[in-house]
Symmetry: C2
Subunit: 439 residues, 2 copies
């Protein structure tokens, strides 16, 4: 009654590759029908293909499952994922001596689209998630201002708001890329200290105008209400540009691990500057030179100088599928998909290579393409079953091109730990095993 469709392992004449290794025109699937992969052809009891009218044939081929034979579960006040998705989680990597210090990784390899659901937004905490009572939390804005002001959350909720969809990425994301040998793990557990949400809040520029900031002020020192009173220095220029005092994340109020009830949002800037649990903004004319902007989130360069206050996250991209830990299903058609983002603005192009970087083809970018936001890219690929090396390369609207690993390592040296954004390579072995390689 059922048989698997045959796999067409050779692209026909109409489906000519646009680059080496079998990359196909990015709009191919939209242009024409294509027997893509293996659904099952079904025929009825008569041996004919299933007739139009529902019949006993349908029941025989697709019997009602047990969940159709009884009423389903009732409504819920706040929904949760299916129990069958219990492996789609943040992977926790915390300090064994201090459970609130570490990270949890967003499972990029299990997600699609550009929005990160709130439960799976990556975490980076220095001393855990404070349990803040929003009625008692205040924001103090003081220093080089005409009038210092104290804001309750209810005060801030009455201000004009803006929304923007943008990524936040930890400056230490992908740092295993600095290792001399390629780390083997699922993409999210290696590159998943980045997430993308719709944030809504009060433009910080409004608040700075309201306190009448001194025109000579050049820095803000932002302080968190966590157990280490984490602080970091922010140039006033960024604060007056597109910074938000974020109160909402993907429609609802911030999650505790993302700064509830208030976080600073600096679109495109490294995660640590997007201060969570924000309690104080001190306006000043010099940076505070805290641990997180001197010992950490900086790089010692080959010249012996340190790279500090880099702030903007450079353009980056990753292929999330196929990727290590996933299965290939034999030769045939695949859709390669992944994410690209840039702290400098919009992604203008993503190129994909299936031959280790010898040739490149342009991927389709999912609309809307937004500034400082994830951009999902996709391109069809015909895998001939041989050895293949997949790469993706992001180019942003400033013309910045994501570098090959060798270029990045040459430039930054081998003391690197932060701000790794090199091109990532996956090797597909003939038997279908996918591994991370430096190529």
């Amino acid at each position: 009654m059922k048989k698997k469709q045959e796999i067409s392992s050779e692209p026909n004449n109409e489906i000519k590759p646009v680059a080496g290794g079998g990359l196909l025109d990015r709009r191919l699937f939209l242009k024409r029908g294509l027997t893509f992969i293996t659904a099952t052809t079904v025929t009825g009891a008569s041996g004919k293909l299933l007739a139009e009218e529902p019949s006993s044939d349908v029941e025989a081929i697709q019997p009602r499952q047990p969940w159709m034979l009884k009423p389903g579960k009732p409504f819920s006040n706040y929904g949760q994922p299916s129990p069958h998705e219990s492996d789609v989680i943040r992977w926790i990597s915390a300090n064994s001596m201090a459970s609130g210090n570490g990270v949890s990784w967003s499972p990029l390899h299990q997600l699609e689209g550009m929005i990160t659901p709130n439960g799976l937004h990556y975490e980076r905490h220095h001393n855990g998630v404070p349990e803040i009572d929003p009625e008692k939390h205040k924001l103090l804005v003081h220093g080089m201002v005409e009038k210092a002001l104290m804001f309750s959350i209810n005060d801030l909720l009455r201000y004009p708001m803006e929304s923007r969809i943008c990524f936040i990425e930890c400056g230490g994301n992908s740092n295993a890329g600095w290792n001399s040998r390629p780390v083997q793990s699922e993409v999210g557990y290696f590159h998943g200290l980045v997430s993308c949400s719709e944030w809504t809040g009060v433009p910080l520029s409004l608040i700075l105008k309201e306190v009448c900031i001194d025109p000579k002020a050049t820095w803000l020192i932002a302080e968190a209400a966590d157990g280490i009173a984490m602080e970091i220095s922010i140039p006033v220029e960024k604060a007056m540009d597109d910074a938000l005092l974020a109160l909402y994340q993907n429609g609802e109020r911030l999650r505790p691990e993302n700064g509830y009830p208030l976080r600073l949002l600096l679109p495109g800037w490294e995660g640590v500057t997007n201060v969570k649990w924000l309690r104080r903004l001190q306006v000043t004319d010099r940076p505070v030179m805290s641990r997180n902007e001197t010992a950490k989130y900086t790089e010692l360069l080959p010249s012996g100088k340190a790279r500090q206050f880099t702030f903007v996250m450079d353009a980056k991209s990753l292929i999330t599928s196929p990727s290590p830990g996933q299965e290939m299903h034999g030769p045939g058609f695949y859709q390669i998909t992944g994410l690209a983002w840039s702290g400098r603005g919009k992604i203008s192009k993503v190129e994909v290579s299936a031959d280790g970087g010898k040739t490149w083809a342009e991927a389709e970018l999912q609309e809307p393409v937004l500034s400082k936001c994830y951009t999902r890219f996709r391109i069809p690929w015909h895998w001939d079953g041989g050895l293949a090396i997949l790469k993706s390369r992001a180019i942003d609207e400033t013309g910045y091109v994501q570098p090959e690993r060798e270029v990045l390592v040459n430039e930054r040296g081998n003391h690197g730990y932060f701000h790794y954004n090199a091109i990532v390579s996956w090797e597909i072995a003939p038997e279908g095993y996918i591994s991370h390689v430096y190529a």
Copy 2:
């Protein structure tokens, strides 16, 4: 040490209203600083405004709260909202005789931005939420096709995908609007059978090309795997246009109550056609005339004829703040905000009135403005403390204008139950109480 700022209850000369009742230019807050609402001015122990350097003054004015004096909570695999947000829930309204029949309302009055978080997407079930094992769930596509095909979820996950952010709205949303007296409740518990997510899935057109659909076919009958095998008829034209077989919602796999593991997504079309738990698509040349497209989701018109297969959700808008159940804080500046959407395409304009519809001012639309998607609108307002009637009116790119209630009721008669999209009016009483009125 602290004093509340004075409220400026009169707009000054530079802030001239652009419409009656105190509506202001939509870009006003971006253009200039403005003492908007009441933060608290703070001075140090010396009586001077707080000095630049952190000092004992800061500690005295903003002492460390208990949560700063200990390490915070550890990392979590899947995050949840703050316990302080436990009142931000879907409000359940189910049949007392059949707990799986009814709705739960999305709390629009407590949300911001355009994304609905997955836990708060509205629900409408006819017989509860089936607990589906994705390994056993199949989609059968048969009928007027060259070859009937059966797809497992794993088969579908290998197909090319697309993402789009769009709303889904129940055809019965806002049906209390047909009542002869205005219902009093929070906006979400009256208009919240609508939500907006980023959906990702396989274009249905690809699948229909793959089964080689008969060119004479005009309808698809979609069947759900719930306890009533809910079925509904879909014109082939829509299926070939922008329909998706959705597998992901806001980045993660669908939630059970939103059709896990597979739902039909028909952007801009009424909710019931976006069949959840999709198990069968029968290609045919006539509609099935099921209960949900004959007795329900249709309207008996004054002419005695029934309005059937309306499908497209007309343009609609709502002011979510200020709105019933919320508090006014005395005369002064407010930001009016709300949502607009249209099943026909993009929202081109939202107009707001503060004088019951006598005069209107154009609201600012939050970018990106997407087709068949929520559009958040915002406009500043200076409330003088007198009686005010707020309205919003959506206009979409086809030129369709959201009608006043009287016009809609005249057109559809008083047997209406579905497809209510009239302009909504909130009355602000001088003491600040907000109520729903027909005005």
